[in-house]
């Protein structure tokens, strides 16, 4: 039995007369300690999918199961790392992490809380900026702070909603390594949303492509059969990496074409109408057509 499961989930928004179906008949099952990446175009409904897993969004039809039990509402057992950091701007990095720890582990003593805060802030290498407010940090540092907060919940499932898409390429690869490092040291179930094929192949055990919206659904998985730890330096020479990358890219591009073809509406020819001239007849028609002399 799988650990985290989506069963025939559909999500529709809007009033019954004008419904938009965002996700349709989604099926996904994630094993314990598996790293799954969901890849899709922007606007396909990736964030809705992660909201379903986090419990922030109820499926219109279908079920979300955790450990075989129906999930009700969000909770700290599914640590969600938000796409736009969602750090509380009036608290420092330490205080943001502390708030999470104090809420989830209310029985800890003050010193234990402080120790835990220290541990997680160090884990993401932010100990030099612990007292800074989010607006004083760079994007990468904010995302690391957000990661520290999510990890500090000690969740069974880590849900990463495009965690790195707002970062520049260098910061991005550094953070990828950090996340992988943490995951390998302390295995747990991860579902990561991304729009970057390289990132997905580099990090995940399995990649589930999300088709184009509206009514997006998950296509067949790609299994990543590559040994860990994966070395970024030799990755580009790895035949499996190149194969997967090409396959997935082609598949995704095919999806794009398909959806464009679907989206094309039949052309309705417009009637050929010329605008009527309502100008008053001029007294001297000759002047109207007089050519402008070059000066």
């Amino acid at each position: 039995m799988s650990f985290l499961e989506l069963k025939d989930c559909s999500v529709t928004f809007g009033p019954p007369s004008n419904e938009v179906q965002v996700l349709k008949n989604l099926n996904l099952s994630v094993e314990k300690n598996e790293f799954v990446a969901v890849i899709g175009f922007s606007g396909a409904g990736k964030s809705t999918l992660i909201s379903l897993l986090a419990g922030l969004q109820e499926p219109t039809t279908g079920q979300v199961l955790l450990n075989g039990k129906k999930m009700s509402g969000p909770g700290p057992d599914r640590g969600l790392m938000f796409q736009n950091y969602s750090l509380l701007p009036w608290l420092s990095v330490n205080e943001n992490v502390q708030l999470a720890i104090k809420t989830v582990f209310p029985k800890l003593s003050k010193s234990e809380v402080a120790e835990k805060v220290d541990h997680y802030v160090k884990m993401v290498k932010l100990d030099h900026a612990g007292t800074k407010k989010p607006h004083e940090l760079s994007g990468g540092m904010r995302q690391r702070a957000s990661l520290a907060r999510t990890l500090s919940l000690d969740p069974e499932v880590l849900l990463l909603d495009e965690p790195l898409s707002a970062l520049d390429a260098l910061t991005r690869s550094e953070l990828q390594d950090q996340i992988l490092n943490i995951w390998e040291n302390d295995k747990r179930t991860v579902v990561m949303i991304t729009n970057d094929v390289d990132e997905a192949v580099m990090m995940a055990d399995r990649i589930a492509p999300l088709t184009m919206g509206p009514a997006a659904t998950l296509a067949d998985d790609f299994i990543v059969n590559m040994e860990r730890p994966r070395d970024r330096r030799t990755l580009n020479n790895h035949p499996e990496f190149m194969r997967l990358k090409t396959d997935i890219t082609l598949f995704m591009m095919g999806l794009n074409k398909e959806s464009k073809a679907q989206a094309q509406s039949p052309i309705i020819p417009m009637p050929d109408i010329r605008p009527k001239d309502f100008a008053l007849p001029t007294a001297a028609p000759r002047l109207r057509n007089k050519k402008v002399q070059p000066a």
Partner: protein, 560 residues
Amino acid sequence: MNEFGACRHGLLAALLVAAMNIFDKIKYPILKAIDVSGLTFLGPVVRLCYGEEPQVQMKKIGQWILVPILAMLLFAFFWAYGSTKVTTKSGSVPGPLATLEAGQAITQFGDYEAEKEEAYNLTGAEREEALENAEARLAEMPTIIAEANAGVDAAKAAHAAAIEKKTASLASELASLKDTYKNAKAERKAALQAASESLTPGDESAYASFLEKVKDHTARTDAEKEELSTLSKEIKDISDKPSDKVALALFAQTAAAEEKQFLTKQIDQLTTGNRASKVAIAEEKIDSASAKLLTLTGPAALKSAERIAKAESRLEKTKESIYAGPKTLGYQVKRSILCVFTGFLIGSLIAIPIGILCGLNSTFMAAMTPFIAIFKPVSPIVWLPISLIIASAYVPAPDDSPFMNWLWEDAWVLNHFDINPAFIASAITVALCSLWATLANTALGVASIDKDHLNVARVLKLGFWPRLFKIVIPSALPLIFAGLRISLGVGWMVLIAAELLASSEGIGKFVWDQFNNGASDSFAKLFVVVFVVGIIGLLLDRIMIVFQRLVSFEGSPTAI
């Protein structure tokens, strides 16, 4: 150079380096503090002190410091000019100088009252020393007053002489013209009388020419009269023109008279009116009465004993009594500030919780909307009588209630301000008029919380109270404080009117007293109040801006 000298030089250099370091380090904290307090015009001055782009800073100083000063001077000039053109029943509108003088008179009055209060409380050697000083000064007063009177007489005489000189030629011209015109009129009249006698009835042309002549005579007489009156008005204008020197002499005379009066009263407070001497006299009386009591029996003893008991209880009161003088503007300003903060506190305690509920729950918001819509536009003039009636019914006199007694006698600071129904009514009026801005802003702030922050609360499974205090209120604080700032401004404006109507001791009462008081400088004192109220309002606003910036986050400065 010996070793000690070298050492000292090294120390000096080290100190200098340390001072330069501190100087460099405090630059940005200073600039940040200036920014937080909203005194941005000081920024260029600080930057100039650090030698940062002098030209740019000079330009900014010119724009933000010199131009406003110029504008103020220009305003003072137009004010001084315009005020002479408007005359009212209470004299002409006071110009900047008259207003300044009125301000000085107000502070002088405050100083005198403070000294009198001090005199009332003095005891022993200090009292005697003060008494000696006051009496010495009082002894000097007759000469000073005589000098001032002589000065006024001299100034008046000089002014009269100057007018005489200026108008002499005009006056002689007037006299001669009067004579000429009088004679000319008499001559014309005589000629017309002669002509009237030589008329033959029926001669139409003769009558017509006669009538013409008479008309001509009347017209001429009118023209001559007009000319004379213009001339005499010219003379009057010159002699009516007030003299600055006379005004100054009169000012000195008034000041001297006031000082004399003050000294007499101060001496009174140091002698018979002094608390210690009052107590001493009363104690002496009680002692002698007690001694006498020992010799009495029967009804006389009872009567005497009763008298002693009464005298003793009066003595207790005298010992605790404080100086009861007229209220100074300083006191009234303090009471007004206390009142506005009382009302502001009441208003905020109502507005913030209701605003939070409105922001959290749209159903509650729907329930509150009609009340907000109907009560918000109600004028303070309507709230005041209502709250005055209610406050009078529920705020007891200090004699009837232990709490009010405590408030009047022992409460820290508050015991100086006689919290009465008028004060409470003014504060409630301030609260009722000012709470709307806070309410609306709080509701907006709570309703517009970032959805992601609420999702964080959901993922953490925060309960209602933690969510309220850890997420909702911190994120709404900048807007709540923006609302509080508007509320305090509105409250301050409302308060003066409320105090005036409730005749609650405060700036409003001062305004009303000056309006009803016919003294020569009452009008100018009202102008002083304009500036006092404006400057205090400005300070209150600044304080709220600092608070608002301190609770703001992201981008805006958060702390010094």
